[in-house]
């Protein structure tokens, strides 16, 4: 590969109120390659991409960069787009009330008759093999499909450089595969792709070149085939990780959680969960795998009493029936659920670490309604230490913590009431590599302490590596159960895509 350099960065520096987050990045991106940027949260990947795409305008950063040989000075996103750089962010900026083609041409600056717009959208879709109807309302599309719309939107503006910031974070395996196919198509068409992701497997499979950032410095740029996963991780965190998944050490004990015939319908009468039965024993980690929309999240929310709509089925805890119709009752009877979206449902960002950790266990930390502050601090401090939550103190607001540490706070919150069952929905989403393995170790340790652990994850290697037993869901039912020994990616995918009956 000796294609010309399309993007050349020279000594890019950036600081936020005196704290330097990029220490002079030099990087050359060749035309028509898929160039991955990896690094832990806080390494500076997103900041760098925001500079390239004009989110941080010229003058707010040090150093300079050249696009197609010409010095680029963007004073906003629009300017970057005109020059041909487009960022497809984690939160897609689409108008859900409008149709696909309207979104595609929104803000493109092109005034075209509708038929022309529909036509051109069709063309882009056909070129990339995207099976989407330009007339469909965007609100009715899944996350993966919306991403396709965002890509088409960039392409009608004739972008040369597309930046993807964690595009697969919210995608299922199948949707990710579809996206990779399209990214390869784009590369064939000569479009340069900058790709940020935490999923190292897909980075290695997809990209031509990989650049590793650490603490705002460029550590390494190499062709992808010169890296393996272990080397990449070592490069990212600056040390070797031995044993990615902690091993199971003991025989599981008695059955703690038993669910019989759990079903859930939404208000439209669709069956989201359909007669699921499962059990988890003390000391066991059970993983629930499946594609997006398979009903995994809905199932665990049923168990936690947080699923709206019509619910039926029974829950037994340690052999006794438990009435769980709200999170409050679930927590009382010893169930905890670390939900998939910590910003939305896990944390109160403006409150401090201690207040967040103690939130689900206020009862035992108070006497006649008055908080026992000393005890609350002691307990919160204990979990901060036990989970290795890196914060400036118990009184730091949680919105200032990194993703991994926020996730640990969410977990600590449900450890404080001493649960018998801990459910984690996407336990490591948006968590950097180092913290990921700390969370794995923590879950294993909890299991050893006798907690029944149930995890839902879209990250297949995670489910396979962590679980003692894997349940696979499809269309609200459990279609397969695999032991640790027999589970492989292929088998899980087989059950996850199995046609009904």
């Amino acid at each position: 590969m000796s294609a010309e350099v399309i993007l050349k960065l020279c000594g890019i520096k950036k600081e936020f109120s005196g704290v330097r987050v990029l220490h002079g990045i030099d990087l050359a991106v060749r035309s028509g390659e898929i160039h991955a940027l990896v690094g832990e949260n806080g390494a500076g990947k997103s900041t760098l991409m925001k500079i390239l795409s004009g989110v941080y305008p010229a003058g707010e950063y040090g150093g300079e960069f050249f696009l197609k040989g010409a010095k680029a000075r963007f004073h906003g996103i629009k300017a970057a787009q005109r020059a041909g750089i487009e960022i497809i962010a984690q939160e897609l900026e689409l108008v859900l009330q409008m149709r696909v083609y309207e979104n595609v041409f929104l803000g493109s600056g092109q005034k075209l008759p509708e038929s022309e717009m529909i036509d051109r959208t069709m063309k882009v879709f056909r070129r990339l093999g995207i099976p989407l109807d330009p007339l469909a309302p965007v609100g009715g599309l899944g996350v993966g499909q919306r991403q396709m719309v965002a890509i088409a939107k960039a392409l009608v503006k004739e972008a040369d450089v597309l930046i993807f910031d964690e595009p697969t974070a919210a995608l299922s395996e199948a949707e990710s595969q579809k996206l990779f196919f399209i990214l390869r198509e784009l590369r064939e068409k000569g479009i340069t792709i900058l790709y940020i992701s935490h999923r190292l497997g897909e980075v290695l499979a997809l990209s031509d070149t990989i650049t590793v950032l650490r603490d705002g410095r460029l550590v390494e740029t190499r062709l992808a085939d010169r890296f393996d996963e272990g080397g990449l991780i070592a490069c990212m965190i600056g040390r070797e990780l031995c044993g990615r998944f902690p091993p199971a050490l003991c025989e599981p004990g008695e059955e703690v959680l038993s669910v019989r015939g759990m079903s859930a319908q939404d208000s439209a009468g669709r069956r989201l969960v359909d007669g699921v039965s499962l059990s988890v024993r003390a000391g066991e980690i059970v993983g629930i795998a499946g594609l997006m929309g398979a009903g995994r999240t809905e199932l665990v929310r049923c168990i936690f009493g947080a699923q709206p709509g019509r619910i039926s089925g029974e829950i037994m805890l340690c052999g006794r029936p438990a009435a769980v119709s709200s999170p409050r009752e679930a927590i009382r009877s010893g169930i905890g659920l670390v939900s998939e979206d910590r910003k939305l449902e896990g944390l109160v960002g403006m409150l401090d670490v201690m207040q967040n950790i103690t939130m689900a266990g206020l009862g035992p930390l108070s006497l006649h309604g008055v908080m026992l502050d000393g005890e609350a601090r002691r307990q919160a401090g204990y979990y901060v230490e036990k989970l290795g939550i890196r914060c400036t103190g118990l009184y730091q607001r949680v919105e200032g913590l990194s993703g991994g540490n926020q996730q640990k706070v969410c977990i600590a919150k449900f450890l404080l009431p001493k649960p018998r069952v801990l459910i984690l929905d996407e336990p490591t989403r948006g968590v950097d590599v180092g913290a990921k393995y700390e969370i794995y170790e923590l879950l294993r340790r909890l299991a050893l302490e006798g907690v029944a652990v149930l995890i839902v994850s879209s990250d297949l290697p995670e489910v396979l590596g962590l679980s003692d037993r894997i349940l696979v869901m499809k269309d609200g039912r459990i279609t397969g159960e695999l032991s640790r020994q027999e589970a492989t990616q292929e088998r899980v995918m087989y059950y996850a895509t199995m046609e009904g009956n």
Binding site: M359, M371, Q396, G400, S402
Partner: protein, 386 residues
């Protein structure tokens, strides 16, 4: 973004300081300006006493509003409800010849029931607080006309009037201030020592004693000024007592923790096993009870209940809270800051009245201040999210 975030936090902290001092600064400049323009009348001992007495009614409403706002709601009915309950208290004394204690109790209990009513619609029936409390505002405006029959109900019971017009004996004022300070220092020392036990952190003695000295100075100045007139007005004493109690509730009780959690992120609160509806309901009950107390103070201060009493006071209460830094988005705020906010609002009213500014202009000024204060709040939050 470890480093980026610490940078951001540093900046936020700075902004927070700027903000909490901005309020004091605003208060000081308002006082200085009025002092200059009124040629010394404004900061006369007599007027200061008067000023604090005037702020007590709005102050009581503002601290209740603070609790509602922190929980992510607000109550637009408090003006009408205050007027209504003030009239109820007046009517129970003058019409039913009840004892003043019974009148106070009646106003507070009915206030709590009205809070239940508001809370029911908002927390359990899902009606937005804006509509539910706007509706209540009309309802109790009607109620106020019914109770007063469109005329003024005079109150002559001397004990009842004491609440609004009399003063604590100076000696008692000193005693209370001294006692409060000692209790405060005692609890703070205990708190600090337990902090250092758990966290190994220690606030420097210099800083701590500086703070104690500051409180001593402010407290002493307040009592000395009040006592050099007639003493601490009982209405102000009531306001300070209620503020203290509410500060304790918010900072030190389980319920207080829940209020901040529900306001900060209702979904996270629910998923943490908090009964959001019950918390919301309780905040409105507290607001209602305080509206009852405010109504009593208002009637006692004017020695009568009028059909127009406390109209529009809900906006003064909201403005006081927002000036005091309570976020309209919920989840943050402090009672004591709202009291200072109420003092700012009262200073404006009082100063403009001294200058014989027409009430129409007063409305315009207060409206502008409300908008600017909220704008400031919105900008602060943008800075945090951006």
């Amino acid at each position: 973004m470890e480093s980026r975030e610490t940078g951001l936090c540093g900046r936020l902290k700075l902004k927070k300081y700027v903000r909490s001092y901005a309020m004091i600064l605003a208060l000081a400049s308002i006082w200085i300006i009025f002092q200059a323009v009124t040629q010394g009348t404004f900061l006369s001992i007599r007027n200061i006493s008067n000023l604090f007495r005037q702020m007590s009614v709005v102050g009581v409403l503002a601290i209740g509003m603070t609790v509602c706002l922190i929980a992510g709601n607000f109550d637009l009915s408090v003006g009408s409800v205050t007027g209504f309950l003030g009239a109820v208290a007046a009517w129970s004394i003058s019409g039913l010849s009840q004892s003043p204690m019974a009148a106070v109790l009646l106003a507070v209990v009915i206030g709590c029931l009205i809070g239940c009513w508001n809370g029911f619609w908002i927390a359990y029936a899902g009606v937005p607080a804006f509509i539910a409390t706007l509706g209540s505002s009309l309802i109790f405006k009607g109620g106020l006309y019914i109770v007063t029959q469109g005329t003024t109900i005079p109150v002559r019971d001397p004990f009842f009037l004491t609440l609004g017009q009399k003063y604590l004996p100076p000696a008692l004022g000193y005693l209370l201030a001294g006692g409060t300070l000692i209790a405060f220092v005692f609890f703070d020392v205990r708190h600090q020592s337990s902090l250092s036990r758990v966290l190994g952190e220690q606030v420097s003695y210099f800083k701590r004693f500086g703070r104690y000295a500051g409180y001593l100075l402010v407290g002493a100045a307040f009592v000395v000024v009040m006592n050099s007139y007639e003493g601490i007005p009982i209405a102000v004493f009531v306001l300070l007592g209620l503020s203290g109690a509410l500060t304790f509730v918010l900072a030190k009780t389980r319920f207080g923790r829940k209020v901040y959690a529900v306001g900060g992120n209702p979904r996270a609160a629910r998923m943490s096993g908090i009964n959001n509806a019950a918390v919301c309901m309780t905040t409105f009950i507290i607001m209602g009870g305080l509206a009852g107390m405010a109504g009593v103070l208002q009637t006692a201060r004017l020695a009568a209940a009028t059909p127009g009493a406390a109209m529009g006071m809900e906006l003064d209460a909201v403005a006081s809270s927002v000036i005091g830094g309570v976020s309209l988005a919920g989840g943050s705020g402090k009672v004591i800051n709202s009291v200072i906010g109420a003092l700012v609002m009262a200073s404006l009213t009082n100063g403009m009245s001294l200058l014989n500014v027409n009430s129409d202009v007063q409305y315009i000024v207060k409206g502008l201040i409300l908008i600017v204060a909220v704008w400031f709040d919105v900008r602060m939050r943008r800075a945090q999210n951006g």
